[in-house]
Amino acid sequence: MGLYVLKRVGALAPLLVVISFLTFILNGLSPMDPAEVVLHAQGVPSITEELIAATRAELGMDRPLLARYWDWLLASIQLDFGDSYITGKPVWSLLGPALMNTLKLTIVSSLFIIALSIVLGVLCALREGRWLDLSVRGVSFLLTSMPAYWLAALMVWYFAVKLDLLPTSGMDSANSYVLPVAVIVIGYAGIYFRVVRSSMLSNLNEDYVLYGRACGIPERRLTMHVLRNSLQVAVSVFGLAIPIILGSTVVVENIFAWPGLGTLTVTSILGRDFPIIQAYVLVLAVAFVLFNTGSDVLNAAMNPRLRKEL
């Protein structure tokens, strides 16, 4: 087990280097010269060649690529992502709080998603083909075909405007969580519930369940064994779900004016504030990779078969 963890963590390092390098050169993709963007953003009236050259030097753009990457990497590790082109504030002072807000939303949503999909997945698997199973699957199928912002708009209109029960936007009280969390949960629970259900079903059809039943083991205990085996698959899927949800709160945050990463990123994209976009991409890509490894390790800890193979 220790060896496995070591191996996985060892494999992380090169992947992180490649990802960070890609994120770094992402900046070069832009058709606009960052120096120009900065000058525009600062409202400089007449942009001359010399001014651009001077700004480029100021931004350190005239140095070799690898040297710049190295400096950028060192700075990034210390959470120094440079200054926003638009406001001039350090990127982390904007990104940090936004990340925290998005994390809060993500964690609350993920907990609900995990709980809901396990409960529904298990119930539907145990009643395969009956009305509960059919209706839950039908509804979840419809909900996953629904655009999140559309659902969000409908819910805002109904619960916040028509019934005036909940706040339409912002992040002021616990009530503010209800609608955004509901939209995220509805969008994702349908997907993950199916993972739990199918994993349960394939386990229920395994010979060991038949043998257990043939040995007179009560159904309830068999169900617990099946659940344990099914959740092994689900754990790795859930582990990956968290960064996916983290990355896809963009739309929901935008609708509910949640002061999180998504809102910040969309504003930054529209304002061409590259350092923030770059930092956002880096933070999420790293989170994705870390969660991926974490869930693999957790899975190996739960599953003796995997542990042996690796």
Binding site: Y208, L210, Y211, R213, A214, C215, G216, R305, K308
Partner: protein
Amino acid sequence: MSLLEVEHLRIWDGGSGAVLVPDSSFRLSQGECLAIVGESGSGKSLTCKALMRLNRPGIRQTGRVALNGVDLTGLSDKEMRPYRGKRMCMIMQNGMRAFDPSRPVGAYLLEALSLHGDWSPSEMVAGLSAAMMSVGLSDPSAVMKRYPHELSGGMLQRTMIALAIVLEPDVIIADEPTTALDAVTQYEVVEQFVALRGRIGSAIVFVSHDLGVVRRIADEVLVMKDGVIVEQGGTDAIFGGASHPYTRYLVSSKEALRSRYLQLMGGTRIAEG
């Protein structure tokens, strides 16, 4: 009175309505070994599972299955539970898949045993160890600590037999217990079954499509084709002079294979397996 009586067993798929086994009747006496032979898909496995009411919910059955005169088909699930394991014991085809993959084999065996008797943990371990030794598992405590994937199919097959020995059921139902094994292990497991009969006096329902194995172990043979019992009789009668063409076909193809084999071996008599 027979130990196990099956009358007008009918099995069908509740979803599509397709009849899988139209009407089967047979009986099994104390200590007897009944082999059910036939090609795959002939309803052997369904019949076996129907005896213990283990077919999946979509598969429906009617008819009488009586053990010592008690009709099992009328029992509730709760009343059925003591029959499963204690009175009727199943040995699965694929040992590798018959045990919960995320628990050590021993934990599983002890759970099953604890449901069927008032044994203390140490008594259960002692009983299991003795049974495992007797089926050729020389280091029981090591086997019990292992996870299923760390053991071979043959070892797991013997483990199931060992559990049956401890439980001393009236009937053992073995569903193709040798199919997933290599030839050598197959031979050893069959020998364990032969020894098992002598040891605990259980009746055995032995499902197989391997006529060589059947000839070695069975008293009575029941031949199934497309869900129908086409022939039924003593082993010698079936192998000697079957009346139904299908049985003759099964036996002759087996014989043809063997004589071809003998011919290749230069006519040397090989011990029958």
